[in-house]
Point group: D2
Amino acid sequence: MWKQRTDLAVEAKELWQQSVSEQTKLEGVQARSGSREGFEVDTVQVLDRRGEQALDKPVGTYITITLDGLKQREEDAFGRAARAIAQELKGLLGDLPAQAPVLVAGLGNRAITPDAIGPLVHEYTMVTRHLVEQVPEHFGTFRPVASLSAGVLGTTGVESGSLIRAVCDEIKPACVIAVDALASRSLHRVCRTVQLADTGIVPGSGVGNHRKALNKETLGIPVIAVGVPTVVDGATLAMDLLGQEELPKLAQGVENLMVTPRDIDAQVADLSKVIGFGIDLALHDGLSVEDVELFLS
Amino acid sequence: MWKQRTDLAVEAKELWQQSVSEQTKLEGVQARSGSREGFEVDTVQVLDRRGEQALDKPVGTYITITLDGLKQREEDAFGRAARAIAQELKGLLGDLPAQAPVLVAGLGNRAITPDAIGPLVHEYTMVTRHLVEQVPEHFGTFRPVASLSAGVLGTTGVESGSLIRAVCDEIKPACVIAVDALASRSLHRVCRTVQLADTGIVPGSGVGNHRKALNKETLGIPVIAVGVPTVVDGATLAMDLLGQEELPKLAQGVENLMVTPRDIDAQVADLSKVIGFGIDLALHDGLSVEDVELFLS
Amino acid sequence: MWKQRTDLAVEAKELWQQSVSEQTKLEGVQARSGSREGFEVDTVQVLDRRGEQALDKPVGTYITITLDGLKQREEDAFGRAARAIAQELKGLLGDLPAQAPVLVAGLGNRAITPDAIGPLVHEYTMVTRHLVEQVPEHFGTFRPVASLSAGVLGTTGVESGSLIRAVCDEIKPACVIAVDALASRSLHRVCRTVQLADTGIVPGSGVGNHRKALNKETLGIPVIAVGVPTVVDGATLAMDLLGQEELPKLAQGVENLMVTPRDIDAQVADLSKVIGFGIDLALHDGLSVEDVELFLS
Amino acid sequence: MWKQRTDLAVEAKELWQQSVSEQTKLEGVQARSGSREGFEVDTVQVLDRRGEQALDKPVGTYITITLDGLKQREEDAFGRAARAIAQELKGLLGDLPAQAPVLVAGLGNRAITPDAIGPLVHEYTMVTRHLVEQVPEHFGTFRPVASLSAGVLGTTGVESGSLIRAVCDEIKPACVIAVDALASRSLHRVCRTVQLADTGIVPGSGVGNHRKALNKETLGIPVIAVGVPTVVDGATLAMDLLGQEELPKLAQGVENLMVTPRDIDAQVADLSKVIGFGIDLALHDGLSVEDVELFLS
């Protein structure tokens, strides 16, 4: 997350709308809003090259779920949020057969609180690959799921992308779900939204190093990205507050800062759990939140 | 830390200097700059009522140590910083006899990274009170030191101040050293400075509840505060960037935000260790950094 | 726990039964077996001086709950176990009024896995004392509960007993519930039982230092002990296997060893949670397991 | 570690010596004792098929370092132990060129204290592979080292061996160093010794699944095993105490037990650090313990 300025697609659309007159319809882009289990769901589809140019995002589907109730600890907010994430994720998985193996990869650095989403989701993933093989009489109907906390370059010396590709070569999943923390442009979106996209990820950097990208093109299988904005760049915040022309005089002070909610530790823990459960419900048909709880206990 | 806007005294002085014309000499205030072990040390003394009014801080000595080298991992930066803190702390301890018992109290919430300074310093404190009593043949020459991680109201149901007072009633220390994380006004001071003051603390709140203050008046013994600014309030930052009149329109979004360094987890860990060692060196004469390392291992 | 050979009362009775011929009725002792929520419950009451001599335990009630289903992850095993603990605990609380304040004290060392029961139960305690006072409109009907992880002498320099007594002096609870890990004599009881007793505790040592005992006599209020055997002493195990006469030749090798289940980390985590929930249900009438879960989240 | 009864080679030799009359010279085995930095070092070389049959261990070199001073916290015990490990490790690395890349793989389960040696050593490994590539002006002279905490089957769904092989395929190291906790037969060896061997490892099982073995034959590169005995099986202990014929009547009770030192948490932490530093010193010529400390801080 930390070298990267991964804007959310919803934000990209907002930026575009600011730059042209607001009511213009974007060519090559389709957007709709709806709700799942009481949470707002915004879907942006980049349909073609015109859409790619308009939003600077590759062709694909980008879904943003806004998890407001989660924070207020409403009755069953956790269960509803997990199911909402599961349902949207299932949409992106499309016609993936129920027995097709999946790899869930948690990206990011566990030792840095706002970057720990990926490693924590890994802990909430129902890992079944070995059970399906070793105890088929009990787990034969489960999807084989493997999971990996891909670490960070500084602690492994191996790029997350290389690690994931190596594991894919070894275990041959039919699909990868990659979870990462994101930097957001908007104070209001931080720790409140989950974004799903079927376009893959570029771990650790957006600087056009195509070798590192993990997507259908490079891995030969679909890669679904699950992202959670947990910080705003200090520089981005300053720019938003001040306008671009004021930035240079501040830039030195703020470039190494980040803006997070005061209770970031608790929010990262909560979001990781709900996303982990959402992934489990999406990958294993017919389970309830209680089933997942029991499996993981 | 979290309900509180504990400005550092150095900042108070800067604010005052901004509001009057800059070259005015403050009545009732003495300030000097110097260095210890290569680190800058600023000392502000509030001498009397005029000083109290000028800076809105009680009479006492406020020392700020700027720990720049620490971040750059210069040769022996850790040892020099611990010794610098120890020497300044000894100055505040004054003529406290070498055998006088001391209580080191770590305030704050370990589960919230930027608030974990106090609990982590507690872990680096050389606790000797029981050893002096039980193994006098080996530890008879040590100062009896007890230490406490005073927790937070939400996890104990007991105010930190009440807990510390209760323990003081039981074990009768001659002095309390209270360590806490602070909110700073300045981006440039966050995680770069340690402030020492001999004026005690008001844990959890600055709202004038004198019953909660821990100082010579309420406890009957000196209370030395060790504070580390680890965050800037979102609201304060916005105000600094925009000016006061612009704040209201932003206030809702930013009041629950904080601004921290990107590597806050590592910085909080480093600062806690150096402060813990500084306290140990100040309380136990004649020890080296290596001795403390060995004792704590 | 570590200096102490706190045998469980059930074990004391078994030892007695081994030493006299088995069918003898113990004078001054009453024992009965029953079940709660599907778990076996054994209650031993030491009625008078004859019972004290027979079992070498003070007058009082000793309850042992055997938590077999918990390990097998049976349906709702967690809920049933928490309710069983709550019901037995309520029996020991007797006619304590619903609004009488209680202090829950977790003893032991969090950094040593089998000794971490007390500190972990502290984390699962619903702390309400400050809420009852500060937000009476929402929490006015709750019992004021404070909680403390009393640490260990080596990390605080203050005996757990002194710390608890100091806090009792400050906040004046009507009852203390003290939770600690125990050493057991029996391989079969380790991590499978919870013992409740209304006779107080002697933290850290059983060597007759009455000043340190926490009970109705020393604190003036009832002290309920909640204990969980998590280890067997190496020495005890060897003695059980070999007989007393064989011990001396082995004693050097085994005195610093302990015997625990292979999955001690997971079992300590599970037991701490179920005991914490049991205490919460006992102290706050009318709550469900789900309510506690929501409060703690 | 947990499914496996990986006896140490030194133990294998002892067992053999017990079963034949003691003074017999083993054919095909060479053993010698010496010392490094004040620690005892025993080296057993299995030279050929006769030696393999005698000790039931493959041809190779098995080194056991006994770390007694480490526990007593003698002056510089840590530094001496790290250097002793480094020197023996260098012997096993043989003529590996200074720039040849190495993968350090930590096996075992971090959530189970006595099995956490591997994951903790991973944290003390100086990872340089990315730095050598990205910042050659500073790190060009370092050996490229990557490191991996290979997790456990239950948390990843992928066998440790498969994971390591996959990463080897991707990053092509010239040698693997694999670190794991072991079960020992001897109470006296637990947490006191480190064993090095150049014969590779069979992670997770000894049951003859040759596909899973990691060694020169399967990976095409040397695999050095670093093992630390941290537990004694309950069953093994009972057998040692009682003799084999007594075991069956006890077996049910003890098969899920383990015997460890009382301070296993602290000992595992200490051993992991000293092994990590030993590996770092072996892999990067000319560094001191202080250099490693600084790099890792």
